[in-house]
């Protein structure tokens, strides 16, 4: 099994007629995702790769029936309206791919989502991918790129024990998956929570999902400086709400306060979100924190034990 995405989920793509929307729809399908409808205002009646396009999410729901997830590929300035439209049409999970979504827009989406009992992943997320053989794998977003690459990268030789991956960096989500998979560690789901400072489904929330996923034996975290996601994960560990082993790497040790290296989320503001504080909190709560990213596979293998055949 997996969390968040699997081939049974019915997916809508908002912005399906755009450059990225069109290309990613094809790639998502090739990897096994069930894309049942698309949306672009003014383009209703067209189709993309045989997928019907609607003007509004409400129309898509009416025609296609149940939509489990909407993947949003519209320009950053339009994300707020697109997301709220989907939530108001009854979609309970959104994936907000675009970078540069204004912060107050993200908070407004969160406000509306809370009112409707909906959740969102992102903004600024590469997506979520559940690997597996054909027929059992699915992806939302851009992660993995071509289906054949994703299968090669994430379906390693041996799958006795599996880990779930949670990352604040898009590229490093794939890297974690690849470097673990080629050492024989199975992967349940890879989740890029998004690079922004306010994200809808932060590390601790995803960790709780993995805690309740029968096919996840341990949780691998690529954390970063800034914000409080890693500290809140430590709280879950300390209070026993997450009991599975957590193996983490925290990036940005050398970054100076107030200097941002690309992610809006990876910035230390007012002394909060420092590297040392995150490492201390996680270690005190029982997590394993590796000093170098390259140390991650060995740490995971030693914790999962000898059930992994390398």
């Amino acid at each position: 099994m997996a969390i968040l995405i699997d081939p049974a989920k019915r997916v809508l793509v908002q912005g399906i007629t755009g450059r990225e929307g069109r290309a990613r729809t094809r790639l998502m399908r090739e990897f096994g995702t069930q894309v049942v409808a698309g949306c672009t205002p003014g383009k209703g009646g067209q189709d993309v790769e045989g997928i019907p396009v609607h003007d509004h999410v409400g129309d898509a729901v009416e025609v296609a029936g149940q939509i489990d997830i909407s993947v949003v590929f519209v320009p950053a300035a339009l994300v707020k309206n697109a997301a709220i439209e989907a939530v108001e049409a009854g979609v309970k999970l959104l994936l907000l791919v675009p970078d540069r979504v204004p912060l107050w827009d993200a908070m407004e989406i969160a406000e509306v989502a809370r009112q409707h009992g909906a959740r969102f992943i992102g903004p600024n997320t590469l997506g979520v991918l559940s690997p597996g053989p054909e027929g059992r794998s699915a992806v939302i977003g851009m992660i993995g790129g071509r289906a054949e690459s994703a299968r090669q990268w994430f379906n390693g030789p041996v799958h006795n024990r599996t880990v779930g991956i949670i990352s604040r960096s898009g590229g490093m989500t794939s890297s974690c998956g690849y470097y673990l998979s080629r050492r024989g560690v199975g992967l349940s789901t890879l989740v890029h929570v998004g690079g922004d400072s306010v994200v809808g489904l932060p590390i601790p929330d995803v960790a709780e999902m993995f805690e309740h996923d029968d096919d996840t034996d341990a949780i691998v975290v690529f954390g970063e400086i800034g914000g409080s996601q890693e500290e809140r994960l430590a709280e879950l560990l300390a209070t026993g709400r997450v009991t599975k082993p957590v193996i983490a790497y925290i990036g940005g040790k050398a970054a100076r306060e107030g200097t941002r290296f690309s992610h809006a989320g990876a910035i230390i503001e007012g002394g909060r979100g420092r590297h040392a504080g995150k490492v201390e909190a996680l270690v005190a709560a029982g997590a394993t924190v590796v000093p170098g990213f390259g140390d991650l596979p060995d740490a995971v293998i030693s914790i999962l034990g000898d059930t992994v055949t390398v």
């Binding site: 204004p102 107050w104 969160a110 490093m172």
Partner: protein
């Protein structure tokens, strides 16, 4: 996190009905004295600087008369905080404070919501007393705080009853203003009541969400970046590139290089993705190098964007090498980036080593494209893939730098001789030149193969298969055509991407040239 100066923040507060001490912004000591005379009475001089602990660092000075103002102001204008010289002072009337209140709007990432922090003990040391601070929720859509809750807190704070309503008004204005200007943080420290019965914001710090700056031209923010120095020429050039091309992420910042003498040399750094970039920078630092800059092109950037980033990196003198590295397992097709890099290296006749870790989709093709550059430049250019660690790439880079012992000198592009004398068409921020006379069936076949439908065969010669408008945004395919033609020994196409702020220094007029010679 674009920052506003105190005086800018105070002007915004006044527009929202929050009073501030009467004052003026000045840029010279004589202006300061004149302002003090107009304000009358004792004044305070406040250096406009983005630092914490401004008072303890000598940035705030009290003065009793105009003579004192002038001499103190002269002194303040000699100060530099970090890399920022003091260029503006705020001259304000002195006030007599009765009570201080700390008011701060910030973003609670856990609650995914804005939050208003209030502390009626006021003043400094707020971090230490964080537990006593009242936290009030703020709505995201409207920027509202529960007024009754503010009133209740103000009523218990021992504030003069006649001033309480005005204090509540001022506090309520903070989230409203923050919402309107899309602030990441808005802090009044302190808001005060005075002995003469006024309610005033004495200091104000505001940062604006970088991603919202585009819809707030009224704030006059030149570069939406939290740089620790005034923006450099190259940072301005890079910022303009990003504003004009939103395909993928582009970020460029120059780093302090004062102590490069004690290292193995300055490196032009080109990352892809924040997480991978940070790891790669660590690998270079651990190998003994100093980074001249941070740069990130990620999120499926076009070849033109990667090319422009490389050009900007290579506008920095003294580099001992060029190092690029991302996450190692990129979801995007890596050959676009490889073409962009190859184009920059070829045009500039690269003569310092370049190591690029381009792991991810189509990495083999990306590495091959970079390897081909070696036939045309004196530098060694090497590509690596996902199974090569940043550490191993940094080690290889160090070997190449030791062997080369060269330092980069920025230079103008070298252009093919046919540029300006052959067919051409305009594309976004540039022009494509095609030397049709030299096109044979093989060159034409390359253009068709790599052009992604832009070109078609017109009897052994290429012609546009789409409208010029449609071709205008296809820079990735056009750059692929250029590089593949060079690789095949048939250089018939050149994508002329002028970089404003860099290429106009080369003596070649930018716009005029394109207009005159364009076909």
């Amino acid at each position: 996190m674009a920052r506003l100066h105190e005086h800018q923040g105070k002007a915004l507060l006044r527009e929202h009905g929050v009073s501030t001490p009467s004052g003026e912004v000045v840029a010279s000591a004589s202006q300061a004295a004149a302002a003090a005379r107009r304000i009358g009475g004792p004044v305070v001089l406040k250096a406009q600087a983005w630092i914490t602990g401004r008072a303890s660092r000598g940035g705030i000075v009290f003065a009793n008369d105009a003579d004192e103002v002038e001499s103190h102001a002269e002194q303040l204008f000699t100060l530099t905080f970090g890399n920022f010289p003091v260029t503006e002072l705020l001259v304000e009337q002195q006030i007599t404070i009765q009570q201080e209140i700390f008011v701060s709007l910030s973003i609670d990432d856990a609650a995914q919501s804005p939050v208003l922090l209030l502390d009626f003990e006021g003043g400094s040391g707020i971090e230490q007393r964080a537990e006593n601070v009242h936290r009030l929720p703020v709505t995201a859509a409207a920027g509202n705080v529960d007024r009754a809750a503010v009133e209740a807190l103000v009523a218990q704070a021992g504030i003069d009853a006649s001033l309480q309503e005005r204090v509540v008004d001022a506090i309520e204005s903070v989230p409203h203003l923050a919402r309107q200007i899309e602030a990441r943080s808005l802090e009044i420290n302190p808001l005060v009541t005075t002995t003469d019965g006024r309610v005033l914001a004495v200091d104000c710090r505001i940062t604006i969400d970088d991603y919202a700056v585009f819809r707030h031209s009224e704030l006059g923010i030149e570069i939406a970046r939290e740089l620790d120095h005034p923006p450099t020429h190259l940072e301005r050039v890079a910022y303009a590139v990003e504003q004009n091309d939103h395909r993928g992420t582009f970020y460029f910042a120059q780093l302090p290089t004062d102590e490069s003498e004690s290292t193995r040399g300055l490196v032009g750094f080109h990352g892809a993705g924040g997480g991978g970039s940070m790891m790669s920078m660590d690998a270079l630092s651990n190998a003994g190098f100093m980074l001249a800059n941070f740069c990130d092109t990620s999120g499926n950037p076009s070849a033109a964007k990667v090319y422009r980033a490389a050009r900007i990196i290579l506008a920095q003198p003294g580099l001992v090498g060029y190092f690029g590295s991302g996450s190692g397992v990129a979801s995007q097709e890596q050959f676009h980036s490889a073409y962009g890099l190859a184009k920059a290296f070829l045009e500039l006749k690269l003569d310092i080593p370049a190591v690029l870790r381009l792991g991810g989709n189509s990495e083999e093709r990306a590495i091959e494209i970079l390897a081909a550059v070696n036939e045309h430049v004196s530098a060694v250019v090497v590509g690596f893939g996902k199974d090569d660690t940043p550490k191993a790439c940094a080690a290889r880079f160090a070997e190449l730098v030791e062997a080369a012992k060269t330092a980069w000198e920025p230079r103008p592009r070298s252009l093919p001789e046919y540029v300006g004398h052959c067919d051409s068409f305009a594309i976004d921020a540039g022009r494509v030149w095609i030397n049709v006379d030299q096109c044979d069936p093989e060159a034409t076949a390359i253009l068709i193969e790599y052009g992604g439908g832009i070109f078609r065969d017109a009897g052994g010669y290429p012609e546009l298969a789409v409208t010029a408008e449609d071709a205008a945004s296809r820079d990735s395919e056009l750059i692929a055509c250029e590089i593949e033609c060079i690789r095949a020994g048939r250089p018939v196409l050149f994508v002329d991407l002028l970089l404003e702020g860099i290429d106009d220094d080369s003596g070649r007029p930018v716009g005029a040239f394109l207009e005159e010679k364009g076909g």
